[in-house]
Amino acid sequence: MRRISLALTALIFCIISGTLLCLVLYSPLPVLLASLANPEIHFAIMLSLVTGIASTAICIAVAVPVAYALARYTFPGKRIATLVLTLPLTLPPLVAGIALLLFFGSTPWGKALESAGFAVIFTPLGIVVAQVFVNLPYMIRIMRSSFAAISPRYEHVAKTLGCTDTGAFLQVALPMARPGILAGTVITWSKAMGEFGAVLMLAGVTMMRTETLPIALYLNISTGDVDLAVAAATILIAISLAALCAVEYLDRDVHVV
C-alpha cells in the first residue's frame, strides 16, 4: 500500500506541475517578457486588479456582518437563509452570470438601476457585480466559521465591562476573527482575479474594455495569439500560487473552509 500510494502521489504531482510548467515554458523567455509588456496584457492586469480589489472590498463589507448574524443570532428562516446565501458556491458561474444578465437586462428593476446610472451590462462595473455575486458566498462561509469558532462569552465579558453590542463586536469579535478575514480576503481576491463565466455573461468579452486576465486569455487563444494567452495564464498561475501560500500561512492559526 505504501509503495502504491507514494507512487501515485508522485505521479499526480508530476502531472500537475508538468502541465503547468509546459504552459509557463511554452514561449521562450524573451517572447514571454515581450508579451507581459504588451499594452493589452497591461490593460488586463490593471482591470483585473482594480475590479478584484473593488469586489473583494465589497465582499468583506457585506460578508462580515452577514456571517456574524448567521453565527450569532437565531431568527426565523435562518436555515433557508443560510442555504440561499451560500447557494452560489455550488452554482456554475455561467448560470449565475446569465441570471444576472437577465435580471439587469430584462426586468423593470434592472432597467431602473441602469437609468439611474448603474449600468452593468457589458461594462467594467458589470465585472465587479459578477465577481461579488459569485464570491460573496465564499467570504460569508469563511467568516461564519470564523465567528462560530469564537465563544460568544468573550463578547459577554466585554459587555459586562462596559461595551455596547457594537462595541463588543468591533473590539472583541472582529479582532479575534482577523485570521479568518485575512484568509477570506486572499481566497476571495484570487477567485475574483480568475473569475470567467459570470463575467463573460454579464460584462461580455470586449477587448480593452471588459478584458480581465481570464478574458484576455480567452480572447487571445480564440484569435490564435498563443503567446499573449500564455502570458495571461502565467500571471494567473502566479496569483494562484501566491494565494495558496498565503492561505497556508494564515491557516496555521485558524482553519477556514
Binding site: S151, R153, Y154, H156, V157, A158, K159, T160, L161, G162, C163, T164, G167, Q171, V172, P175, M176, R178
Partner: protein, 355 residues
C-alpha cells in the same frame, strides 16, 4: 443587596425557573448543582446577557431587570477566563476602564494596583496564551475587580485548576474578595470550595433553587433527597418515624434507631458516613444508636475505606485504612455501628412527592 424575584429565563434548552434569592452586601454566595441545572444561565441573566422571561432583579432596591449589562457594573469571570487573546494582560485589565473613558494615567494606576493585589504585576506585558491556568485566572479576576463591581459573578472559576492549586487559590480568592469588600456569587460543583468559601449556599436542580442557607444548615439538614444525594451525604435510609419523647424512633428493615426530630410518618433519614463509629464490641458512649451488623463490602478510596454494613438496612461508614486494619475488617465481619441521634437528619418523605 441583590434581590432576584421569581426570575425565569431560558437559553436554548437550558432554563431557570422562578428563582428567588437575596444576596447580601459583601457576602460570598455559592450556588452548587449538577451540570445542566442552569447555573450559568442564572449568572448570565444576572449579568444582563439574557433577558428574563419573567421576574425581577433589584440591585440595592433599584430595578435592573431591563438594564443593559454595560450599565449594571456586575463583573463576570468564566470558567475558561475568556481573556481577550489579541490584547496583552495589561490591556485586558484596562479594557473596562477604557470603555468608561477613564484617562490613561488613572487607568494605569488602577491596573497597577489591582495587579499588585493579585500578584500578576510581572505578567502585564504578556499575551494570555503564554500564561498558565492560574495566571490566566488571576488576570481574568483582575479585569473584573479593577472595575470595582457591585457584584462579582464567578462561573466555576477553579474547575480548570488541579486540586492542590485550587485549595490555595480558593483561600487567596476569599482573602481578595474580603479585602476589596466585593459581593460574590460563585457557581461550582466542588464541595471543598463550598466549605472553604461560602457564607451562604444555594442548591440548584433542574433550573430551580431547592434549598439555600448557611453551608452547615444545608449540609446538616438537606431539604430533600436530591439535596442529600447531591451533597454526597452517604446514607439515605427510608423508614417510618414514630415520636418518642423529644426523639423520633425510625423503624426500617426490622431495626430501629433514634433521631433528634419531631417529624412523624414516612421519612428519609440521612446520615454522614463520617458520623458512624464502627467497632467489634458494643461501643459504650452517650450515642443513642448502637446497631449490630455484618460487613458486606469494603471499598478503598484513597487513604480511607468505605465500609458497607448490613444492619437490617444498608449503612455506609468511612474508616481510615489504619482503623480498618486494626479492626481486622473483612467481608462477613460482625461489627457494631454507633452514631448519635443528633447526627441523623430526617426528611419527611411526603415532601418528595410535592417537590
Amino acid at each position: 443587596m441583590l434581590t432576584l424575584e421569581s426570575l425565569s429565563a431560558h437559553v436554548g434548552d437550558f432554563r431557570i425557573r422562578e428563582i428567588s434569592l437575596e444576596v447580601r452586601d459583601r457576602e460570598y454566595f455559592i450556588i452548587i448543582g449538577p451540570t445542566g441545572a442552569g447555573k450559568t444561565v442564572l449568572l448570565e441573566t444576572i449579568a444582563g446577557i439574557h433577558q428574563p422571561d419573567a421576574g425581577r432583579m433589584l440591585l440595592d432596591g433599584t430595578d435592573i431587570t431591563a438594564l443593559e449589562p454595560r450599565l449594571r457594573n456586575i463583573g463576570m469571570v468564566y470558567q475558561d477566563y475568556m481573556l481577550f487573546p489579541h490584547l496583552t494582560v495589561e490591556k485586558n485589565i484596562a479594557f473596562g476602564l477604557r470603555q468608561k473613558g477613564i484617562a490613561v494615567q488613572e487607568r494605569r494606576a488602577a491596573v497597577n494596583e489591582t495587579s499588585r493585589v493579585l500578584g500578576i504585576s510581572h505578567l502585564l506585558g504578556r499575551y494570555p496564551e503564554t500564561l498558565s491556568g492560574g495566571e490566566q485566572q488571576r488576570a481574568a479576576l483582575a479585569r473584573a475587580l479593577v472595575m470595582e463591581p457591585r457584584v462579582l459573578l464567578l462561573d466555576e472559576p477553579m474547575s480548570a485548576l488541579d486540586s492542590g492549586t485550587r485549595a490555595r487559590i480558593s483561600r487567596e480568592l476569599l482573602a481578595i474578595c474580603k479585602e476589596t469588600q466585593t459581593t460574590v456569587i460563585q457557581i461550582t460543583h466542588h464541595f471543598e470550595e463550598v466549605h472553604a468559601l461560602a457564607d451562604r449556599i444555594a442548591i440548584m436542580q433542574d433550573g430551580m433553587i431547592v434549598q439555600s442557607g448557611t453551608p452547615s444548615d444545608v449540609f446538616l439538614h438537606p431539604a430533600n433527597v436530591f439535596a442529600a444525594e447531591f451533597l454526597c451525604i452517604g446514607n439515605q435510609i427510608p423508614g417510618m418515624a414514630v415520636p418518642e419523647g423529644r426523639l423520633a424512633r425510625v423503624g426500617t428493615g426490622g431495626q430501629s434507631f433514634y433521631a433528634v426530630s419531631d417529624i412523624a410518618g414516612p421519612v428519609i433519614a440521612t446520615l454522614h458516613p463520617e458520623d458512624i463509629i464502627v467497632s467489634r464490641e458494643p461501643f459504650v458512649s452517650s450515642a443513642r444508636n448502637c446497631l449490630p451488623g455484618t460487613v458486606t463490602e469494603l471499598v478503598p478510596a484513597g487513604s480511607t475505606v468505605r465500609v458497607i454494613l448490613d444492619a437490617g438496612f444498608l449503612l455506609t461508614a468511612v474508616l481510615t485504612r489504619e482503623s480498618c486494619r486494626d479492626l481486622a475488617l473483612e467481608q462477613g465481619s460482625r461489627v457494631y455501628a454507633t452514631f448519635k441521634a443528633s447526627a441523623v437528619h430526617l426528611i419527611a418523605a411526603a415532601h418528595e412527592n410535592q417537590g
